[in-house]
Symmetry: D2
Amino acid sequence: MQFLSDNAASVHPAVWEAMRKADAAASPYDGDSLSVTLDEKMAALFGRDCAALWVATGTAANCLALATMVPPHGAVVCHEEAHIEMDEGGAPGFFLHGAKLLLCQGEGAKLTPDTIRAVIDPIRDDVHQVQPHAISITQASEYGRVYRPEEIAAIRALASERGLGLHMDGARFGNAAAFLDSPAGDVAGAVDALSFGFVKNGAMSAEAIVFFDEGQADIARYRRKRAGHLQSKGRFLAAQIHAMLDGDLWLGNARSANAAAAEIAGACADRLMHPVEANELFVRCTPEEREALREQGFGFYDWGEDAARFVTAWNTREDDALALAKAIASL
Amino acid sequence: MQFLSDNAASVHPAVWEAMRKADAAASPYDGDSLSVTLDEKMAALFGRDCAALWVATGTAANCLALATMVPPHGAVVCHEEAHIEMDEGGAPGFFLHGAKLLLCQGEGAKLTPDTIRAVIDPIRDDVHQVQPHAISITQASEYGRVYRPEEIAAIRALASERGLGLHMDGARFGNAAAFLDSPAGDVAGAVDALSFGFVKNGAMSAEAIVFFDEGQADIARYRRKRAGHLQSKGRFLAAQIHAMLDGDLWLGNARSANAAAAEIAGACADRLMHPVEANELFVRCTPEEREALREQGFGFYDWGEDAARFVTAWNTREDDALALAKAIASL
Amino acid sequence: MQFLSDNAASVHPAVWEAMRKADAAASPYDGDSLSVTLDEKMAALFGRDCAALWVATGTAANCLALATMVPPHGAVVCHEEAHIEMDEGGAPGFFLHGAKLLLCQGEGAKLTPDTIRAVIDPIRDDVHQVQPHAISITQASEYGRVYRPEEIAAIRALASERGLGLHMDGARFGNAAAFLDSPAGDVAGAVDALSFGFVKNGAMSAEAIVFFDEGQADIARYRRKRAGHLQSKGRFLAAQIHAMLDGDLWLGNARSANAAAAEIAGACADRLMHPVEANELFVRCTPEEREALREQGFGFYDWGEDAARFVTAWNTREDDALALAKAIASL
Amino acid sequence: MQFLSDNAASVHPAVWEAMRKADAAASPYDGDSLSVTLDEKMAALFGRDCAALWVATGTAANCLALATMVPPHGAVVCHEEAHIEMDEGGAPGFFLHGAKLLLCQGEGAKLTPDTIRAVIDPIRDDVHQVQPHAISITQASEYGRVYRPEEIAAIRALASERGLGLHMDGARFGNAAAFLDSPAGDVAGAVDALSFGFVKNGAMSAEAIVFFDEGQADIARYRRKRAGHLQSKGRFLAAQIHAMLDGDLWLGNARSANAAAAEIAGACADRLMHPVEANELFVRCTPEEREALREQGFGFYDWGEDAARFVTAWNTREDDALALAKAIASL
């Protein structure tokens, strides 16, 4: 019973089906009928004009988005535990040509205007210090916490006041939307670009970068090719995204994952390091307790010395979630 | 009847099947059982130790390979019509951090020791001029020409004499091997790294970088992640490559494509700009003749003012090849 | 008698004097009174608003200027024998983060609208090919040829039509101005940025980047620091530039160098590979003839098998020029 | 009475004299007799073989040195208040192509094996996290603190154990040596490369990068040119360094600066935030006290809300130091 991560979960049948349908020979790169209709479908979902580019990984999505907002001599403001800082092997430094990450604190890996200001206000506006050009937030956060629309609005206001772009890493955007039960446009807020994740939510190898600024999309198209991320059979990536959007599969899958997490959370409320809002649980437990759980067949990561991280996925079986809930309760 | 390119052709059924089998939850990234057995299978194929990394595109494969051989202040020697120079949107400049491409001439887009020397010999060994660190050749070349083992050996000798690495862009390596009818190890020769292409030959989204130097593979692993090319469901890429290698599907597919090209070539020997050795035909014809072919339903690219390029693929139907052959013969 | 290059010539006494005067403790970086008054003096010289930044080398000047015009995924159009292509150790690739140089031909190392179009017109406007963003021309050219104002105007018109920036490498701008005997504003034409060279013309270690677009200057200031080119005792660079501008020393020095070159040119008109317009002479002569000249104490570079390059400087003694003229005439 | 910084102080007469002597025409770049004898003189000073390259700024020195040790996908370990992190406008990101700085804590801006391990030990050796490749320490530190030889030895031991290079930012190396009163070789310890600063200590525009590994020097030579830092009249930089080394001027100048700082420190021991070991004083004082000092004609920087930074230089007059000492004592 696997709770290691949602990042290697099986592919949803509807995604497989869409990919098979896309097999018939077609235009290469992003000239096929599936790729060219993504903008429209995304615009309908978010309620405003946008341009959507597929890429294979969240790292590429995040970094290509940020590269349109931040010059090589600039900086991105992000949480000190953000994925772009901790888990992308230095990809922002590569895609942004040495631009810097300015690391902020914030409860639950969420930024606030205050924690952002604490970092950017002391920066003198002179050439000796790297100047911020964009803010990147993660929805849901690296601790499974969800930004409320008003929280995003407050960050957006600060960004606009300081002339900064705003990017959202939505690797688990679906889980955030499922939690908020709000329209996608509200879950994203007025960001300039969104990395809309599908791989952790039932797709195989397709994420979307949704640009709400056409000019940035135009730049990103060149940079996607230049980064080797323009696939000649891109129709298979577009097909995955269409399948995830059709019938709100992205939302349904995320609801399933969240429900499984909630089930488990209910059994260990007193052990939780963070409120469970999405599909990740950070649970205090001793090495002995973890050993006991592993002996029962549960797979998960240690989280430091005294905790474990459990992640549910779109296809986590209810029985498995219940079994884990029971096992933790019995520790 | 599509002869535009092999880059968007359908995916081979055996590849689909292997991907479906890989669906069951597994280790993320390249820790799954399919990814970890690639080295062994490639070593058997090439007859020497190697490490194989999957990536989604040929551009990523070429550039990650070259980035292990060439420092940012160095240069890659390649043909002036090489894919890395002409068609990758400046990706070598990105992945190699501004390293330079030194452009050589050569019949049929093939390098020779002489054309290489003509470029590198005049370079003074001082800091004012960018020094070559590697040579990149394309097998089969951008004009569908195939390097004979002795030609590669001569280039290898020159590379070694000058302390240069040797990379092979094998986007159509299968077509070269089918033409030569030689073991893969001879088709590759003693290169340091090979971009082994599958996407144009029946796969969906998987190419292999085969490193014959373990140290370079170690570097490439970090750089692959840093470039956003490490997919969390990498097992689907590994599965494609296994499927292509099993039963020499890569070779069978390439033979089919080559045979279709030969069929057409036979009908227009006097119009050919280059001998047809692989699956590409460059055919002299007037705009009117091209118009006539298009009216009969043939798809292809113009090649300058007075020629057309036709590319066959693994799934080109024999009837279509015959029809095109007849149509050209009747012009 | 040294005719190797003007790049290591002595420093003019007025420059020394200005540097000594600048010694008294002052504001660091570019906040001193000498640095902050450069804009004004340059604006008066060129007859339009501008911002001037000092740097220590022409390579830094060229590359910082171009980096403000060309994104990492773009390209600079230049002559195939331009200094930025041939002699800067790959610096454009470094400063422009892998942007490409698109190489054009042209008599005397000068570009024309036609030779530019021959390179940029075939570039498809798609992401597979690197798109031009700026043109760089050299005044005087690498062969000592001078662009007439109408020639620059024609290139400017093409640049504007295609949305390209225009940069001028003026490492020997003074020599061009001395030849044209026109106001500096006409010698530069409507370029966006000029690398105004002084080191080859009597200064020690100061070149100016003159930006006619304030926005570009603002970017360049950050990039200059980031490239380690903001000197804390920058007043000594500013002092050199002031000394070169005061009383038109830059023009007087260049006139001396040009006069010496003209003196020599007069003695070998039939041997000249290029008309002598500035301070460089490319003279056909056999290895034996070169040997003979060297035995007489003349220093110069071979230029291929059958020629020599002689460069005069601001401090070339008239006697030495006459001696060389006579020696060549006597060959 | 200026105590703002040592970075804009006047140039020592012996440096001026050496520069004047270097004026006579000579070989360009670093081929002149002054440049080529630097290695030997540095080797004598440090008691081991080395190669010395001049550059104009400490930022260039630091970044060129680090670029020889750290690949683009790697990281440099440094103090969170190190100059390379705080004051170089992101230059390490530029020169190292996006390599990361891993920030450690440590009293007085000094690293210790423990504070280094606290940062590098948690880094998993996998491709998702950026791996350290070098450590950079500052001698004297950004708070004017000096590493004792045994402290450097301990860091060197850790670096070697982990396969990391070791770089020393010696912008105020002279001040450290003056404090330790030890041979230069002991003050530097077994670092791989030293940025040996002269600009803050009486030179105009010359710092040395001293490489104790010839291979790294060879790389740095290409990178120096590529970064636009190879000056054609490099003899003027070499001349400055020779003048600073001859008769141990670098040490004498630093002793003067240190003595002035000690004088002031004696008057305000109870206000000092850090022991005064070199030529910087960080003095607790209220805004009102700072105002009072400024009214008496003292120039200095505020250091946060409740402190001031005073820096002495080689040419700080004893009277001025005494006056400041008295003024602070009288607050």
